[in-house]
């Protein structure tokens, strides 16, 4: 059982002061094996905070990130899964699933994690799964109205990944989960 935290679009301090207190109390160091971040942190303090949660931290560049040296895309392998990470402002039209599917094919990954729209989605298609963890702070978005703070925790176990999405709605943390299985061929089902 490998836990992967996926989050992004915090936009601290441009659009939000901090992570919601309820999220902060849940995110405890030492429990998570990997952290992947779609980008738009935006400052070093946030990077340092994420590093305390888990030393294995992967970040891709968002258009507002102060750090310009984050890569545009990143791929990594966790267990049997290949994961791809990209902020998503590079993929036009923004949030378009078919265009994101193209990126997924290009990176050749089972799970593609992107952000930018501040809207949680988890979509399964022929080439794999596309996950958007939303905005961890519920930051303003020109694309999405009424953004609720959200993040995703993936539990990777052999050929199965359970995606838990945590959303802060009206002051309460609501959890939902989705199951994905990968078949032994290169396709995910």
């Amino acid at each position: 059982m490998v836990l992967v935290l996926a989050l992004g679009d915090l936009h601290i301090p441009h659009r939000a002061a901090d992570l919601p207190a309820k999220f902060k109390s849940m995110l405890v160091p030492g429990k998570i094996q990997h952290v992947i971040c779609t980008g738009n942190l935006c400052i070093k303090e946030v990077h340092d905070y994420l590093k305390t949660l888990c030393p294995d931290l992967h970040i891709t560049r968002g258009e507002y990130d102060a750090e310009t040296r984050y890569p545009e895309t990143k791929t990594l392998t966790i267990g049997q899964f290949k994961l791809g990470l990209c902020h998503g402002h590079q993929v036009v039209p923004w949030g378009d699933l078919d265009s994101l599917a193209m990126l997924q094919r290009q990176l050749d990954v089972d799970i593609l994690v992107t952000g930018h729209t501040h809207q949680f989605t988890a979509y399964k298609h022929e080439a794999g799964v596309v996950i958007n963890p939303g905005s961890a702070t519920g930051a303003y978005s020109s694309i999405t109205y009424d953004v609720n703070p959200s993040f995703v925790l993936m539990d990777i176990d052999a050929l199965r990944v359970v995606v838990y999405v945590y959303e802060l709605i009206d002051g309460e943390v609501k959890v939902d989960k989705i199951d994905f299985k990968k078949t032994t061929t290169q396709n995910a089902n």
Binding site: P13, R15, P93
Partner: protein, 803 residues
């Protein structure tokens, strides 16, 4: 200082004294055993003679004293049993006065006196009076203090207190009090006299010795506090005035400090509250060297604890006007002690403020008063330079922040900013940071423009340069941290009511504009997003009030936004400004304000043309422009055409060919929006795709020429995917034939010798083909659509499935 040689001598004398006491005690015991009064008296006198020594320091003398004390208990027991020695207590009392030397005589007298009082053959008060006066015979400080201490010890349980067996006609509590007070007074005099007993060079040694003896004096006060009959009335009318009289008149710093503290610790808080004026009245009369600050702080702390533990006494505090009295006393002390350094005065205010916050937290007028007194004190000096005093001021200002979790309460204290004005620029910033931390920690929201104004006045050290040299000295990292905390703060300034929110935004804008170019990159974005959030809120609200002049409209806010973002040009921060302009364009689009949206796009393009020079930055910027433009629904045909033309034009002019290619095919989406009313211009889509194909070709050829081999075929695969995208959306211009030939092209390229093999693009192509296959197998409409597209056997590509 006592030399080791001196110490060794002392040890020797002490040992000698102890030996002598033990020697005589042995014989005295023998005499007691044989009921021999004469012998007992003789040896006890000899024993007590050892206490006549002048050679021992108080610490060592105590050792000797305790041994004598133990022996005298045996003697006392013997005295009590009249049948053993046959002498009446009255006779005994007379008999012991024949002892040769005065000190042993008085010890024996006290011992008999104890028995005498117990026998009740005479009123306790008479005996006590006699004893306390007789002790005057010993004027040597150490010996006198121990003698009187002995008297106090043995008389303790024999005082004519309320309800004691010694109370009677003529024997009242008053007599007990008189006795103790007299003993106390005499002991204090002796104690004070010690200070002048030696040469000035031994002053330190003297003070140490005095310190060792102080509890003997203080004990009397403790006894007074234990007397049942000393109620509030008596304390107020008799005890306190007389004790204070002695304290003030003795004019000795050590005594005054110790005794004031003793009074405060020993007597009940209830009494202090009721005698506050008297107690405080003594403070200005004390010697200047007395640390009256500590005395007052301890008093205030006790009273605060009292209030904490018994909330029902709070009305008493108000009734005796405790705050007013303390405040006035502090003022008098500061006035009286002209040489008191500033740090002393400030720490007094800190103590008073702590008291006020604990006892009267709801009385903001009191809190403000304390701050006001501090301002007055600080005004009398020039700028504060003493670092200790500065620290105290910071403590003073931090106390209300900790107490009142809602910063708005602190913002109502009119003297708070005035105190801050007296801090130097550096400390001002420290204080400002503390204020911001307090707001963030407590998650408080500042919700009116007035309060925001006051807040910004307080934190002005962070918002702008207070003096010329400020920013040069600050470390870059620290500066960033500082400004980021200001940025975070801006999100705590909020009001649900749009009109008030707009006022807040205007107030903040006014202040941050004075911050200079270094600060704007930090402060402009949060303000801009605050404004955008307000726009959205107005947009979502239903309709306008018919006929009413609405002060807050999206148009007004967009004007404001334009000015705010424009300020970034002074930094300059073009890339940031470009992004913000695009955000505004989107927001204007949602409000259906076409001209405003167009204006924002113009601003963004101008920045792109004139300021964004870095090629990587250009790539990101053009994609942001394309992405934003793609979502615009408000533009009419003309405006839209102008902007899309510009976008595609700049896309083709990017420096590197692959970047050009990608930007151009991204532009294809500008001509096809999937919504119901969205534009669906199939021809122009195809034009873009063809153009990007040409660029990809050119890129391959260029690579051929410059490197001897073509680059990977990735670009072609990407374009293929785009073809598939529009094919599926139903663009009639994208035909199966076109797709087919593109597939062939890619295959050919991949097989060509000139092409550099690349696993990534191979895998990409394979998965694309798999996708096509998947779609074909779907059946239904999609399957039908894809049926003309033929994929040849996969055999040639087996080798690419290497994983």
């Amino acid at each position: 200082m006592v030399t080791t040689e001196g110490m060794e001598e002392e040890e020797k004398w002490l040992a000698e004294g102890i030996a002598a006491i033990q020697h005589n005690a042995f014989y005295m015991s023998r005499a007691l055993d044989s009921d021999n009064l004469r012998e007992a008296l003789k040896y006890s006198a000899l024993l007590l003679s050892e206490l006549r020594t002048s050679k021992l320091s108080p610490h060592k003398y105590y050792d000797l004293y305790m041994r004598a004390f133990d022996e005298l208990r045996k003697l006392e027991m013997f005295f009590r049993e009249e049948d053993r020695h046959g002498c009446s207590v009255i006779d005994l009392y007379e008999l012991v006065q024949h002892a040769g030397n005065i000190l042993p005589r008085l010890y024996l007298l006290c011992t008999v006196g104890s028995v005498y009082i117990k026998s009740k053959e005479a009123p306790a008060k008479d005996i006590l009076k006699d004893l306390v006066e007789m002790c005057r015979g010993i004027q040597h400080p150490t010996r006198g203090l121990f003698l009187r201490s002995y008297l106090a010890q043995i008389s303790r349980d024999k005082l004519p207190d309320l309800g004691s067996e010694y109370e009677g006609e003529g024997d009242t509590v008053m007599d007990a009090v008189d006795f103790v007070l007299q003993n106390f007074t005499e002991m204090n005099k002796l104690w004070v006299r010690m200070q002048h007993n030696g040469p000035v060079r031994l002053k330190e040694k003297l003070e140490k010795e005095r310190s060792e003896l102080r509890d003997l004096v203080g004990k009397n006060l403790h006894v007074l506090s234990q007397i049942e009959g000393v109620d509030l009335e008596m304390y107020k009318d008799v005890v306190l005035p007389r004790v204070l009289e002695q304290v003030v008149n003795c004019k000795d710093e050590i005594a005054q400090y110790y005794l004031m503290d003793c009074i405060i610790q020993v007597f009940p808080d209830e009494y202090h509250l009721q005698t506050l004026e008297t107690l405080l009245g003594a403070c200005p009369q004390l010697q200047p060297a007395v640390d009256v600050k500590t005395v007052l702080s301890r008093l205030m702390e006790r009273l605060s604890n009292y209030a904490d533990s018994s909330p029902e006494v709070l009305p008493d505090f108000l009734q005796v006007e405790a705050f007013a009295k303390l405040s006035s006393a502090i003022g008098k002390v500061i006035e009286a002690q002209v040489d008191m350094p500033v740090v002393g005065a400030i720490s007094l205010f800190v103590s008073l403020l702590t008291f006020t916050l604990r006892v009267h937290p709801d009385r903001l007028d009191y809190v403000d008063q304390v701050l006001g007194a501090c301002v007055k004190k600080l005004s009398s000096k020039a700028k504060l330079e003493d670092s200790k005093a500065t620290k105290q001021v910071v403590t003073l200002l931090s106390a209300p922040l900790e107490k009142y979790t809602d910063i708005v309460t602190v913002l109502t204290l009119s003297n708070y900013p005035r105190v801050m004005d007296h801090l130097d620029a550096g400390t001002n910033k420290i204080m400002a940071t503390i204020i911001i931390e307090s707001i963030m920690k407590n998650d408080t929201c500042v919700s009116t423009a007035d309060k925001v104004e006051v807040l910004f006045e307080l934190i002005k050290g962070l918002i702008k340069d207070l003096d010329e040299t400020a920013t040069d000295e600050l470390d870059e990292e620290d500066f960033k941290e500082e400004q980021n905390s200001v940025a975070r703060l801006l999100h705590m300034l909020y009001n649900d009511e749009p009109e008030e929110m707009l006022k807040i935004i205007c107030t903040v804008r006014k202040h941050i504009m004075a911050g200079g170019p270094n600060r704007l990159t930090f402060t402009v974005p949060p303000l801009a997003f605050s404004a955008l959030k307000l726009v959205r809120r107005l947009q979502v609200q239903d309709g306008d009030m018919a006929g009413e002049e609405v002060p807050a409209t999206p148009k007004k806010i967009f004007q404001l936004l334009n000015e705010i973002i424009e300020a970034l040009s002074s930094v300059p921060a073009s890339e940031l400004a470009l992004r913000l302009y695009l955000q505004c364009a989107e927001a204007a689009n949602d409000c259906e304000l076409e001209p405003i949206a167009y204006e924002f796009f113009t601003q963004a393009f101008v920045l792109y043309e004139e300021e964004v020079a870095d090629s990587k930055a250009q790539v990101t910027a053009i994609h942001l422009i394309i992405g934003t433009l793609q979502k615009m629904t408000v533009f009419g045909v003309e405006n839209r055409d102008t902007l899309t033309h510009k976008a595609t034009g700049y896309s083709a002019k990017l420096l590197k060919k692959p970047d050009q290619c990608r930007a151009v095919y991204a532009c294809s989406h500008l001509f096809w929006v999937d919504d119901q009313d969205g534009i669906k211009d199939g021809e122009r889509v195809l034009l873009c795709l063809k153009r990007s194909l040409r660029i990809a070709n050119a890129a391959q050829q260029q690579a051929n020429v410059t490197r001897g081999s073509s680059g990977p075929v990735t670009l072609f695969v990407e374009i293929l995917n785009k073809y598939l995208y529009f094919f599926e959306k139903g663009n009639p211009q994208v035909t199966p034939a076109a797709i087919q030939s593109l597939i062939e092209l890619i295959k050919t390229e991949m097989q060509s010798d000139a092409t550099t093999p690349d696993t990534a693009s191979d895998a990409f192509f394979s998965s694309t083909l798999r996708y096509i296959q998947f779609q074909k197998q779907k059946g239904g409409l999609m399957g039908e659509k894809y049926s003309p597209i033929k994929l040849f056997s996969f055999t040639c590509f087996d080798c690419t499935f290497s994983s």
